[in-house]
Symmetry: C2
Subunit: 254 residues, 2 copies
């Protein structure tokens, strides 16, 4: 056991992220849920574009364009940013190019500052926890909403850090507090500003979809970032990452 | 009653602050506690300098220099940043020039973006709540610690927003959650990174001092900002700010 515990931190906005060994990017409504669902649906990889324009520039044979602006599908793109819609179809193929307002820029930021970048949401919560190397310095990166703190990401960050072992930062402590304040995931997702936007635009099916826990046994990981557009594929599970040893809860709030 | 409720927000870091009617700056460990204590001790005003150098440039007759770097007194300054030390003496006079790592830069940032800037801490909690104009758009600005989220400021922000009426942002909701998770103020102040620093440097008397609630009946307010160094004096209480009507708690977390 190391003499000094690795730090366990949460960046409530991508702008707060400092250098870290492992970054877990969370945009539960909806980008990281969408990526997880897309890989489960059969896409071989997801290109996470920092902007609509960057996504368009990557269009080509075997690639589907997906994304949103202000929560709504982008004109001319093949798909929106709805995990529920993606989940209704099986046997997707090829590559997805995704551009969203908060989530894909957060993945871009994390890929610049972390050695390992994993994508987390509720859909893959247990698989994610198992994939985080025990003893590593972990920062959960919340995507936020238009540069503002997002309740639903803080909730998921808290669900993650409450299960990891490490020297808990002030932000990680507060995230765990948020997670502990709710009996389940639906309410923080519904109550958040993003949740209200989805409800007011007829997209509330995505809230129920994204609130389901550990139904997908895969972890999206950034495996290439040569062009400033991180490419995410399914992380390989292996004997080096048993995960079990960092699943205890060292955080007591009061 | 207005048809649309004014927004009640929390900026967990000064960099998150947007334009707002009323900013309440919080650096409970220790700058806003120090300013409140300084005005109670008899200083007529406190100049809140963005840096040690800016404070030095303001030195002169009738002015005391105070501040800290890395939590410790600044060589050549008259005073450190200890509310407990300030509170031990009566009948101070003249002006204080204060430069701290997080708190005074947060006050500078707030003075640039808000119409009204008040300073809050636990020492003046009830007086502060009474001074916030009912129905105004309020943002509590947490000073943070070296650009990072600070537990103790989030706790105090939560204590404030839980008593105000308004349309609660995601961040305000979470701050209220943090406040509700603790039975009292001492523990979040002690547990925070700032609290640990104070304990490890023999300054823990300031934790107990700053955890006392509503013992000072005054509210520091920025009343001049001509030179980029906000000048804080005691806000005048008046019949226009009865305060009572926004003291209810509209926030239910779960």
């Amino acid at each position: 056991m190391p003499e000094t515990e690795a730090e366990l931190d949460v960046a409530f906005l991508p702008s707060e992220l400092r250098k870290t060994e492992v970054a877990v990017v969370v945009d539960v409504l909806r980008a990281t849920s969408t990526v997880t669902q897309a890989l489960a649906a059969g896409y071989g990889s997801v290109h996470c574009a920092p902007s609509i324009e960057a996504a368009r520039a990557l269009s080509g044979p075997g690639r589907m364009l997906a994304g949103e602006r202000q929560g709504l599908p982008v004109p001319g793109f093949d798909l929106g940013n709805s995990p529920a819609a993606l989940g209704r179809y099986e046997a997707r193929r090829g590559e997805l190019v995704l551009a969203t307002t908060n989530g894909t820029p957060a993945i871009v930021a994390a890929a610049e500052r972390a050695e390992v970048v994993l994508l987390g949401c509720l859909l893959n919560l247990e698989a994610l926890l198992a994939a985080i190397p025990p003893g590593s310095q972990v920062t959960v990166v919340c995507s936020g909403t238009d540069g503002r703190f997002a309740l639903e990401d803080a909730y998921v960050a808290g669900r993650i850090v409450a299960r990891l072992r490490g020297a808990v930062s002030d932000a990680a402590r507060v995230a765990a507090c948020v997670a502990g304040a709710y009996a389940g995931a639906v309410q923080p997702l519904r109550d958040s500003a993003d949740g209200r936007m989805l409800r007011s635009t007829g997209q509330e099916a995505d809230i129920a979809w994204c609130a389901r826990e550990s139904v997908l046994d895969l972890v999206p990981q950034v495996t290439a970032n040569g062009t400033g557009v991180p490419v995410v594929t399914t992380a390989e599970a292996g004997p080096d990452h048993p995960g079990k040893t960092n699943r205890e809860n060292p955080i007591r709030m009061v």
